[in-house]
Symmetry: none
């Protein structure tokens, strides 16, 4: 099956955003064995959109559109597809009711232009959207499949995974099953280099690397007959990857680093507290983002000022005077102080210069310390990061979590 | 002048990379007053590439290609453009000499296929590439301009800035200037509804709405002669928007809510501390993400357990026993306690049930309180949120920041 991705949105043509939807969909479609031959972007312009739909019809079996499903006059993709296929627009009552509930829920009035989002080309399959107000849809006509998806990635990605992927799979006779491994502490290119032989000789299962949220993802995908057990193909490949990469494989079941840490703490019935300077709450927030975090996280402190470090964490004034707030000694005192005052089994602490300002020749931007306090003492790691403020903070929080992960794994029976 | 961007590369169609070149070029071209009407991506396939060149010739004045300039057989863009325009390929001696020096410099032998990179369509303008081995070129024919650029952003971006931008500027055209407004507390559809008359009668400046990171963005774009002041067009439109939307316009200069709050605090020389339960550090982290946050944020506490609420914030045990941790009384006590113990001018507090678990009939998932303590007392707001855990937490943090923003604006002289 040959496909093209047709993205609709002036914001793409203005360069406000990159077309990450096309990237995401291309990966997903390629994994399903669909050849993607074109990406096209057009603006919110009815004439140009009709011409692109005509061209897509002539050259592709599967046309996936992204964007242009919002409530405004500019949002015209669904209407354009209906017009192109000669279908009337029809009210989809379940969508209207879901939207009414949604607006009631957020305590905002539904405006008349929202109602437009409940109309769909007659006879289509409506794809519900729990992450926004614009559902997608699928229409088939004369052997072509039109898949109409919303633009925002947090709406499009789950809609593809939960609706479009299964829909396309049902049409094929093969079953596709994936396992996702998470790697932390090794870049994508090094991981790909070490896995080169597996990647090169891949056939079934296939192996692909992706950049995640501060980690690297490996997707192992097996193609089997519907009644065959995919684990027979997946498990040996996962074992080979783990043998080649070692303990940088933090999960073979699609868990993020915070999820792994919360699970390990929970299994070992241990508690954690965080003392943050440069990460400024991000470390605690990553943990709290995992459902069930309340069982393991006792508390966190964002001790941004020296005064707060002394008052909340009992960091000795002498440490700050002699070594400064960005120092190994301060990181150690923060972790120790937090562990003692919170009563948690473990305390993590971060301090450093995230940038862009605040650097000195002695302590340049990107110099960061992370400390882990436990019943066996305190360990401190030093990092020299080179990214922007947001990424330096994120990397620091993840490194601190990985210190704890490695510690917890050693203690595991 | 109407333009399109034609990117050549199978790696784009496989989803290995996002098309950030198209984003970068679109921004640059729009700033020069060039309308970008299409982006297209094709693979390394001669037939499909020729068809796209033909289509581009028919509909665009300026065609910018990216990628396909490397030394391998697959790299065929320059050759395809020459073939399409009926031009022979000619050796460009300065390029060959530069490449010989380059390879000498890195101590590697130049392979025969590198020589291919020194051949160009006859009569073109060669654009040198100090950041790689593949120069670009510009060819004009029958009123069309073909600009052929390398794919890697670190080669393409400077080549555009140093060669293509000056080339297009010399040809003269209109100048495009945008202002971005941020809206918080009103959805995109309601904002578009209220601005309907402005959006419908738009010509110059134009107005468009976008969904941001928890806020809504409005882009006002003016087209002027190169020597004209765009503010004469932009300022009246911005004033009209502010009159129609009121104080949900949090910035008319592309500031996010955390940036606005840090600026207002800094201007008023006030300090802040945060006491977080359900947001779990996210509120502090959003503030710390703004450079200069250290001047205004004294500290934060993630008091996830009842014990931490009592010990760190002096929340009375009676409040927790009578009302529970998720209550207006607890939010109030957290904000008061944080303000008193930190010595900050303001304290924000959050408590609630972010989900997915933890709800009861009395206190369902999504019930959240935010409190602001100042020298004029404590105010508490109650929210009933309906999204997933991550979004409920994010919305809560932003709502708390907006409480403080509104308070700070009232106090402004």
């Amino acid at each position: 099956m040959n496909a093209e991705i047709l993205s609709v949105g002036t914001e793409l043509l203005m360069g406000q955003i990159a077309n990450t939807d096309a990237q995401f969909l291309s990966r997903g479609l390629n994994e399903l064995g669909v050849n993607v031959f074109y990406h096209t972007v057009v603006g919110d312009n009815p004439g140009r959109l009709q011409r692109q739909l005509r061209q897509a019809w002539e050259r592709s079996d599967l046309i996936v559109t992204t964007g242009g499903l919002g409530p405004t006059e500019d949002d015209l993709t669904k209407e354009a597809v209906a017009e192109f296929l000669g279908l009337p627009m029809e009210l989809h009552r379940p969508t209207l009711e879901a939207m009414e509930r949604y607006f009631q829920g957020i305590g905002r009035a539904m405006t008349p232009n929202n109602e437009k989002q409940a109309y769909f080309p007659k006879g289509c399959l409506v794809l519900d959207n729990p992450n926004g107000t614009a559902p997608g849809c699928i229409v088939e006509q004369e052997g072509r499949i039109f898949v109409v998806l919303p633009g925002p990635p947090r709406e499009l990605n789950p809609m593809f995974e939960n609706h479009v992927r299964p829909y396309l799979l049902r049409r094929g006779d093969a079953k596709i099953t994936s396992r996702i491994l998470h790697i932390f502490g090794m870049g994508e290119s090094e991981a790909a280099y070490r896995l080169q032989t597996l990647i090169e000789r891949q056939d079934n299962p296939t192996l692909a690397t992706y950049v995640g949220q501060g980690d690297v993802l490996l997707r192992v995908t097996a193609r089997t007959a519907p009644d065959e057990d995919p684990e027979q193909l997946l498990a040996p490949m996962v074992r080979q990857i783990e043998a080649l990469l070692g303990d940088v494989v933090i999960s073979d079941d699609n868990e993020t680093l915070p999820e792994v840490v919360v699970r390990l703490l929970s299994n070992q019935e241990k508690t954690l507290a965080c003392a943050e300077s440069c990460t400024g709450g991000l470390l605690s927030s990553m943990i709290v983002d995992v459902p069930g975090a309340s069982d393991v996280l006792l508390e966190g402190a964002v001790t941004y000022s020296n005064e707060a470090k002394m008052r909340r964490l009992a960091v000795p004034e002498a440490v700050l005077a002699q070594h400064g707030a960005v120092s190994e000694a301060c990181a150690r005192a923060m972790a120790e102080g937090m562990r003692r005052t919170s009563g948690a089994d473990f305390a993590l602490a971060t301090t450093g210069i995230a940038g862009p300002g605040g650097g000195t020749p002695d302590k340049p931007v990107g110099l960061i310390y992370a400390a882990l306090a436990s019943d066996s003492g305190v360990t401190v790691e030093t990092y020299h990061l080179k990214r922007d403020r947001a990424l330096n903070r994120r990397t620091t929080a993840l490194n601190a979590l990985d210190m704890l992960r490695r510690h917890l794994l050693q203690k595991q029976p």
